[in-house]
Amino acid sequence: MSIVDIIIYIFFSIGIFFNLLAGIGLLRFPDVYTRLHAGTKCTTFGSIFLIGSVILIGFRSWYFGSTDGSVLAIHSIVALIAILLTNPTGAHAIARAAHRSGVEPVNAVIDELKTKTKTKSQSDKSAHNKKPEVGK
């Protein structure tokens, strides 16, 4: 067993561990926002290591003279870049949609975004009420 094999096995274990943590966090956390932390960050980190192990396998077989290994490694890098770009963006969209559709954080003491949007809408409303007075 060479040292690259050992590194690949370590990457496999880290990937399995963090993906299982994502599942457990989805089951155990009390709230949409905390579940979003578990379900998005942990799977992104685990997928980095699982796909990184495939990239290592591809580079090793490329080093030993196989052209299939280079194709495997480079396509895996493209898949990893796609995951790294799309996953946090999707999580941000889900969190914004959850907050705007009125889902409250459980056990939250202060919600600064809610107060900020409320004062903004109140100022909009007061500006809207002022308009007819100006017309008078």
């Binding site: 989805l26 089951l27 949409v32 396509h75 895996s76 963006t89």
Partner: protein, 88 residues
Amino acid sequence: MIPFDTFIIVIGAITLAVVMAIIRIVRGPTAPDRVVGLDTINTIVISSMVLFGAAYNQVIYIDVAIVYALLSFISTLFIAKYLEGGKF
């Protein structure tokens, strides 16, 4: 070389996380909970597709994973926009 059974064991282990996310989709009290579970399942399916491509030495599986990543991103954005209730 990595034996074939190792890949199958790894894929079986991360399928347990898919099962937990399906439980969250069935039980989720609100709609955004279900969307979070769906997003988690998408990411795990992408990484298991890449592992299958390495196990069977077929590069076409990884191409399918790239397309699946981009399409699942678009579907997540549209579901979020629908929950938000805004104009498209």
